[in-house]
Symmetry: D2
Subunit: 309 residues, 4 copies
Amino acid sequence: MTVQPSPSRPGRPVLLGQNQYGKAENRVVRITRDGDTHHIKDLNVSVALSGDMDDVHHCGSNANVLPTDTTKNTVYAFAKEHGIASAEQFGIHLARHFVTSQEPIHRARIRVEEYSWERIEHHGRGAHSFVRANQETRLAQITYDGTSWEVVSGLKDLVVMNSTDSEFHGFVKDKYTTLPEAHDRILATQVSARWRFNWTDDAQQAPDWETSYAETRRHMLEAFAETYSLSLQQTLYEMGARIVEHRDEIDEVRFSLPNKHHFLVDLEPFGLKNDNEVYFAADRPYGLIEATVLREGRPQLIPADLTNL
Amino acid sequence: MTVQPSPSRPGRPVLLGQNQYGKAENRVVRITRDGDTHHIKDLNVSVALSGDMDDVHHCGSNANVLPTDTTKNTVYAFAKEHGIASAEQFGIHLARHFVTSQEPIHRARIRVEEYSWERIEHHGRGAHSFVRANQETRLAQITYDGTSWEVVSGLKDLVVMNSTDSEFHGFVKDKYTTLPEAHDRILATQVSARWRFNWTDDAQQAPDWETSYAETRRHMLEAFAETYSLSLQQTLYEMGARIVEHRDEIDEVRFSLPNKHHFLVDLEPFGLKNDNEVYFAADRPYGLIEATVLREGRPQLIPADLTNL
Amino acid sequence: MTVQPSPSRPGRPVLLGQNQYGKAENRVVRITRDGDTHHIKDLNVSVALSGDMDDVHHCGSNANVLPTDTTKNTVYAFAKEHGIASAEQFGIHLARHFVTSQEPIHRARIRVEEYSWERIEHHGRGAHSFVRANQETRLAQITYDGTSWEVVSGLKDLVVMNSTDSEFHGFVKDKYTTLPEAHDRILATQVSARWRFNWTDDAQQAPDWETSYAETRRHMLEAFAETYSLSLQQTLYEMGARIVEHRDEIDEVRFSLPNKHHFLVDLEPFGLKNDNEVYFAADRPYGLIEATVLREGRPQLIPADLTNL
Amino acid sequence: MTVQPSPSRPGRPVLLGQNQYGKAENRVVRITRDGDTHHIKDLNVSVALSGDMDDVHHCGSNANVLPTDTTKNTVYAFAKEHGIASAEQFGIHLARHFVTSQEPIHRARIRVEEYSWERIEHHGRGAHSFVRANQETRLAQITYDGTSWEVVSGLKDLVVMNSTDSEFHGFVKDKYTTLPEAHDRILATQVSARWRFNWTDDAQQAPDWETSYAETRRHMLEAFAETYSLSLQQTLYEMGARIVEHRDEIDEVRFSLPNKHHFLVDLEPFGLKNDNEVYFAADRPYGLIEATVLREGRPQLIPADLTNL
């Protein structure tokens, strides 16, 4: 937020600061037909534009305002004109268009949610039947200021669990501490992650966005599964480090990991021994562990708060 | 609802009708350890009990009331004592217990949501790492009145799409009709389904609940994919008929199928032709198609409204 | 559900049972302008039609099918033609129209959610500024079969709390009971209620739907507040009885009342005494208390399960 | 985010960046008894702590980690020890405690959601019955680094509508623009707002947090109602300016305002004229207007993105 606040109108000690506008949550489904075999991309695209927007705030003049409705139309038109090779590439087309075609627009930020579909196996003809798959939603954010690009990809709602190989002890005790130490517990979380690419310039070779996403997701899952955990922080760090070490195109990863507590149920009142078999899956409250892991020498740019809590 | 309303208290022209109570949404996770290989069942269990409950309504006497907290404890204790072979079998254990152990309880209904997990493939030791899979939630409802059983299984939030092989025309036109006929459209829905088993008696051989669920889900998906559709009603009927024809243990299926509209975007204002490639995925309103399909000669017992809209 | 299943197609042991279709969740806002003073009705209207619908299920013939899109158009056209005096009256117009204008339609059911708005007090001219008010949503369901009417109104998400004057003791103890008795507890619930009117015939004087709703809501709140409670069942019964006793137009009330547990926090480990001051508001699990209260001699017609859990 | 990334472990080109942890969503209800009259505060409190946390990320050592469970206990203990005069004051107690009592903790951030309750009017004794009121949720965020305070308050889900006195025209038209100009439209939004206080030092007189919230909410509503709007940006600016001009304790306001579109329904196909009476309330997509309004000479510190879309 290096935007300079705009001069106030005469007589008011009030300035306009950072602002952006656009159409949010444009739901676009793009079908590509290869004979009887269809391919599908299912996106939720949000546009946010910034630029010379003082007048519309100060007096309601829309002379510099491309309507949000137009930004919606552009999303659908571009789905036809450019296709959707990936969420990232689609966002790059859109962001470039808004900044280069509209003089008052100095920055465009495109956010995309992508929903995944698998083919339904069946005995009929053709391949154009699909079932929604996975719990998680893929994310992409593309920002362009006319000069350089920032691409941050990610996912949310990837729910994972280790049913053992997790401990928690040796922690600080103060007068409000009642938690017993745990030497074998369930570790479960709902991963929200964002990772920033070091591709910033059209002159660079762009990453293969589809491969990068699949591999990054795989590294996160493997790191989660393969880490014997003494704290969720340690697991988080390993997930991030694994990505930085294996994916040269990524410089920074931010995680927000709720500790989805599974409490061992006390069955002793019923004469039963609970040998780490029966758990109560709690909703609230939950531990919330958030951190950035980044490549040595690279800046920290992803904002800290991925959730509002 | 053949329950007879209870006599009113003196002087009040008011009767008590059908009533039930219990603890809802008990979240239980059951881990079964086979050495380094763990198995997981993840359920949300709701208990509803009915019986001699006039006094507690009329004057607050809890003499016949087993606390809802106790029904929660029982869920966790039974997860240890009986394990969770399937949602249905677990519900049968619980329902039988409440009806046979508590004289004032005449009927027990257990509802279960089950969440599915897949193993994470990784290079570490053991097999105790999981990722939540699928969009849909498996459902089971077990009702016992001390004599006979009713088991209704199902699922919700199974989202499916055919990107072609769907038409809609030849419909009634009245003065409020503006819809054009469609000869190639996307057909998409979010399946909510319940199916009733003809197993009602302990003397009968119970179905293999796990196999039955997997096969019923498969038949639904195949019928959806293999049906060239002239209306969502036709597709619904084929999905139900396929189940009745292939699964002898099931007598009745109820569907609630929102028609998740995907509207072809008009790109002509931008000089583009939309050859069934770019769609707007709408939220509301949506068509809602609901029907029961049942085996000849068998009663219709599943209630009509699976949703509240 | 007294619908007779339809004959199967040759060779299939499969029947079509109860079915209905229509457009769900039509969001209509109706502004009535009285000079500078505007009035607002904000509804979510769902249409469900039943009748001669065998062919569309069996072979996809839409010859009897009024499109769901047409039912949507009708909602908006009727908002203009008839206005929206109340959710109930609006539903009556719609249901009558579908059954009387379309020969294949034998039954129409209209469900309405209504959102409440209050005026914003301000110093400007006119009275056309509003703020959404209340947590609860008003509900109405109107069913017409060409002969008689069933009107069920209600509400959901009305959250109430008594911070004292609630006890729970004298309950059954079995081997799974650990709950201590409570002699002063918080009683809180999120009321879901439906009430059925005894107006069934056009020849009868219809109730004043707006007054009836306001008074019924008031009686529920007063009964909740004024009842010293020994169990949530007792409070529920008083809420229903109060309505039946005071509102002659209503014959039956159904409640679904989650017991929103507020657990007294144990502060003794920190050397503090918790004198019914500090509570943990729990999410899940929760007690769920459901019952019908009805006028002597009147039938019980509202279905038992208002929620799916 | 001026946090310096931590040195990597030997041999890994990976650094730890900004990180924080704590217990989120502690639901606390505090009853204050004044004889038969009770007062209620209903909060959802989230704790996030930062400091010397390298070891727990790098190797799982919890030697500097106060458990999230302890932070939860502290919330409940402080509700007893300090009471809850306001969300802001309660957060100040908590943040000060964590930073001053734990050497490794350098910064504490407390986030609070507050739910509002109104008294139920009734004829019984006492005043301890409540009903949840309003759609919006009050928010507070308190951050302390051992030296200075940052308090940001706000609200979300305040839904407002002007049914006239809104226009939108004179905007940019490009090749993707199809929107007609509007000279009388509904303007509706769901306000999400955050405002930052200029109280930063214990030596300053703290604002009256309760009065400040009530007045700020009132100014926002009045500004929304009293502004003849040529764009939602103009309305947003007036809402912010009104606060800055009237509330000396506030230096900066950030808004995220979805333009909740209400589309005039075309009734001409049915031979009806829609004279700004019947609207379709759309869900998605929606315009999203976001901006900061601030006092001249004061810094812009509230992050730009209040939502994730």
